[in-house]
């Protein structure tokens, strides 16, 4: 049998073993907790053939492997975040044994505690604003009568498109201004590539919002209102997520 490592999903506070009972770790490994002071690390055994340095190097290049690992990692983090203050760790944080985990928790205790204090009681929402893609096919236009006419038309199309993007940016800022009134923090993320995200239109806004649980309903209501107020764009809100985008460590 291959050597086993400890895959670290998240560091929590007040998580009990019963809470994660019945949730499978990556590769079907059994989840367990490693406690150090007030901090509790959520780990499961993984095969070092697959999750060792060599294995990871080739596995991370395989999209099917990566997707399975990412979804498995996220499923465990979500289960923990639903019941305890949780700071998710980046994908593929692996130790050789429980003592290695404890050592790292001791070293970073203050920073991790500060991160948990920030996210406790909160959840993350992802809001994207996209330009609206017309449903109808544009009217077929007659062939340009000259090269100049053709270029003029191209320029017009380009200008129409930039004007649409500009309007969408303005709408996105208005939506953002409204949403920040009920959130604890926000963080701008780069627009996603449509080839991976599968969306249509231009993504002009991709922001993570940290929302207190008590204000989640307000937040969702506000998203609906803003969506209705700016029909020229698509407002896409997803959540709640564990607070991935806000559980960052302060520089040590």
């Amino acid at each position: 049998m291959a050597e086993q490592g400890r895959y670290l999903y998240a560091v929590c506070r007040g998580l009990t073993p019963e809470a994660v009972d019945g949730i499978a770790g990556l590769g079907g490994g059994r989840l367990s907790l490693v406690a150090e002071g007030d901090l509790v690390a959520l780990v499961s055994p993984v095969d070092l053939d697959e999750y060792g340095e060599e294995g990871l190097r080739s596995n991370l290049e395989r999209l099917d492997w990566l997707e399975e690992a990412a979804r498995g990692h996220d499923a465990v983090v979500q289960a923990a975040a639903a019941i305890a203050p949780t700071a998710p760790t980046r994908l593929a944080t692996i130790f050789l044994d429980d003592e290695g985990v404890r050592r790292r928790l001791r070293e970073r205790e203050d920073a991790i505690t500060a991160a948990l204090d920030r996210v406790e009681g909160h959840e993350e929402w992802s809001v994207k604003v996209l330009t609206r893609v017309p449903d109808a096919e544009p009217e077929p236009v007659p062939v340009a009568s000259s090269g100049a006419e053709y270029l003029r038309r191209k320029r017009q199309e380009q200008e129409d498109r930039s004007a649409g993007d500009r309007d969408a940016h303005v709408a996105a800022e208005k939506v953002h201004e409204a949403l920040v009134t009920v959130v604890a923090a926000s963080r701008r993320l780069p627009p996603q590539d449509p080839r991976l995200a599968g969306h249509q239109g231009t993504m002009v806004h991709n922001v993570a919002y940290l929302v207190h649980r008590d204000r989640s309903d307000d937040f969702v209501t506000l998203v609906h209102e803003q969506s209705d107020a700016y029909p020229e764009v698509v407002v896409d809100a997803r959540g709640p997520w564990p607070p991935y985008s806000f559980a960052m460590l302060d520089e040590a």
Partner: protein
């Protein structure tokens, strides 16, 4: 109301497990690869590798079959793409006519 794509009804904020739609891979990767707390494990993962990987994902260096299997089939119904194709056909036609015109007058 239909304008926004909320992943679950607005009424009643339920737990994470109740989200009806599978999360997009883009949303998950952007979080598990780029966010969260970063602490050094015993297994050293070359972060550069991961960054290269995300670049590759952004460029979609995967096979068409693989992408379709994952539900990424944007090229089939991307209006921008079809507009672009239409534009090229139009440009081609315009150029052909222009060449004929010039040849005819010469």
């Amino acid at each position: 109301m239909s304008e926004s794509a909320l992943s679950r009804p607005a009424a009643g904020v339920a737990g994470y497990q109740d989200r009806p739609h599978p999360d997009s891979l883009a949303d998950i990767l952007e979080r598990v690869l780029d966010k969260g707390i970063i602490i050094a494990g015993d297994i050293r993962v070359n972060l550069l590798d991961i960054e290269l990987l995300t670049v590759k994902i952004r460029l979609l260096v995967v096979s068409v079959d693989k992408a379709e299997e994952m539900g990424i089939d944007w090229w089939k119904n991307d209006p921008m793409l079809t507009v672009r194709e239409r534009g090229l056909a139009e440009e081609n036609q315009a150029l052909r006519e222009r060449v004929e015109e010039l040849e005819g007058s010469g």
